[in-house]
């Protein structure tokens, strides 16, 4: 059953108790939290994901709780949230209004640190007609803005944050979790995709104001469908720039992709072989843009790679 089809009270009770299991595609995440506002946001953002009453196999267990201070003083003087990933506590406590980014960061942390079945790249991935567009990028490059804009205009969302490349066949697995927007991009996407469900804005994070976009229902429904990488495009948002795609030599693209990987070094020869096969099979570009309309047109017209390019 989808999370959004469960009674809100049941979801809250399960999350306050032993946790509720969300099938996010490649990973089942058990979420446990007593924080009511966080439960409401999870119900909205993960509305279309299959939810399980629990008891099955779980990949990650994330608990977001209020820390208990001495005599409860800290808890009430400054309301905070803290994430526990099984027995690990990778982050410092944060103000309770940052519980959603804390949850999302915790799930990302689990994938980046506890799994190695994929070569993982920090990248947005979208698909059209079976071909995947990989948008690697550092924070601020405009990756998530592009990702949200394409995901609501004809492209299927595979992921906003992780390109999960299967070493065996080079295909990319989908992990279509909520898209993280920052600062001015939030209103930009509200205007670009009025039907998109965007969660509450969270101010004063280390990246400024953050809001998450619910992934399109069709992308969630097709979360088991993999895609074949066809284009690796390194985006840069540049105010006032005309949209421009510039071919990027493949050896340079290889290194930039490896730099964006969470586990290239850890995987050794498997990482090298997987990334080199992927670069060989893709067309590689740098992309400067300022207008989403330009981006939609240019990326939509990308030529498919020739079989041996």
């Amino acid at each position: 059953m989808k999370l959004g089809e469960l009674a809100p009270r049941d979801v809250a009770d399960r999350m306050k108790g032993q946790g509720l299991d969300l099938d996010t595609g490649p990973f089942v995440v058990r979420i446990e939290t007593p924080i009511t506002d966080l439960v409401d946001e999870i119900r909205s953002l993960y509305h279309d994901f299959p939810a399980d009453a629990g008891g099955g196999l779980v990949d990650f267990h994330v608990a977001v709780r209020r820390p208990a201070g001495p005599f409860g003083v800290r808890r009430w003087l400054r309301r905070q949230a803290i994430a526990y990933l099984d027995d690990i506590r990778p982050f410092e406590p944060l103000p309770i209004h940052m519980a959603v980014p804390m949850l999302e960061s915790s799930i990302n942390w689990c994938a980046a640190n506890q799994t190695n079945q994929y070569v993982m790249i920090h990248a947005a991935v979208l698909e059209r007609r079976g071909s995947a567009l990989v948008l690697p990028g550092i924070t601020g490059a405009g990756k998530s803005t592009l990702c949200a804009s394409l995901a609501y205009r004809g492209w299927r969302l595979l992921s906003d944050e992780f390109a999960l490349i299967q070493p065996a066949d080079g295909q990319i697995a989908a992990w279509p979790r909520p898209i993280s927007l920052k600062n001015v991009s939030i209103d930009l996407i509200r205007g670009w995709a009025p039907d998109a469900c965007i969660g509450k804005s969270v101010p004063n994070t280390n990246k400024g104001t953050i809001a998450y976009v619910r992934p399109p229902s069709e992308s969630v429904r097709r979360a088991v469908d993999r895609a074949i990488p066809a284009w690796v495009v390194f985006p840069t948002f540049e105010k006032g720039a005309a949209g421009r795609l510039t071919p990027l030599p493949k050896a340079r693209a290889f290194f930039r992709l490896a730099d964006c990987s969470f586990n290239y070094q850890a995987l050794g020869i498997q990482g090298f072989q997987t990334l080199s096969r992927m670069i060989s099979a893709c067309n590689t570009f740098e992309f400067r843009y300022s207008s989403l309309d330009d981006a939609l047109g240019l990326l939509g017209a990308l030529p498919l790679p020739s079989p041996r390019s």
Partner: protein
């Protein structure tokens, strides 16, 4: 070039190279160190020559010049000496002990 006083160079112990090339650039993964290197055409030829067999710089110059149809002149010698030094700094090659 006086080969008698030259050190001989070989791949560092444990190195095992995996190559991929696109256009005139090469990416080489060294399974021994876990490091990945970006090489241009000439640099790649020097490393390939050392991967095939160890040798002193004068011999390397002869082999690379013949392979690339270049004159084994002073400019090529300077460039190859720089390349070998960069390989040494990167831990790709080491002088032979014998």
């Amino acid at each position: 070039m006086d080969s008698a006083s030259e050190l001989e160079w070989e791949l560092a112990e444990g190195s095992r190279l995996h190559w991929v090339s696109w256009d005139d650039e090469y990416v080489v993964f060294d399974e021994g160190s876990g490091n990945t290197h970006l090489l241009d055409f000439l640099t790649a030829e020097v490393l390939k020559a050392l991967e095939q067999s160890r040798g002193a710089v004068p011999a390397l110059i002869e082999r690379v010049a013949a392979r690339l149809d270049l004159d084994p002149d002073a400019d090529l010698e300077r460039r190859i000496r720089e390349v070998v030094e960069r390989f040494r700094e990167a831990g790709l090659v080491e002088p032979t002990l014998s």
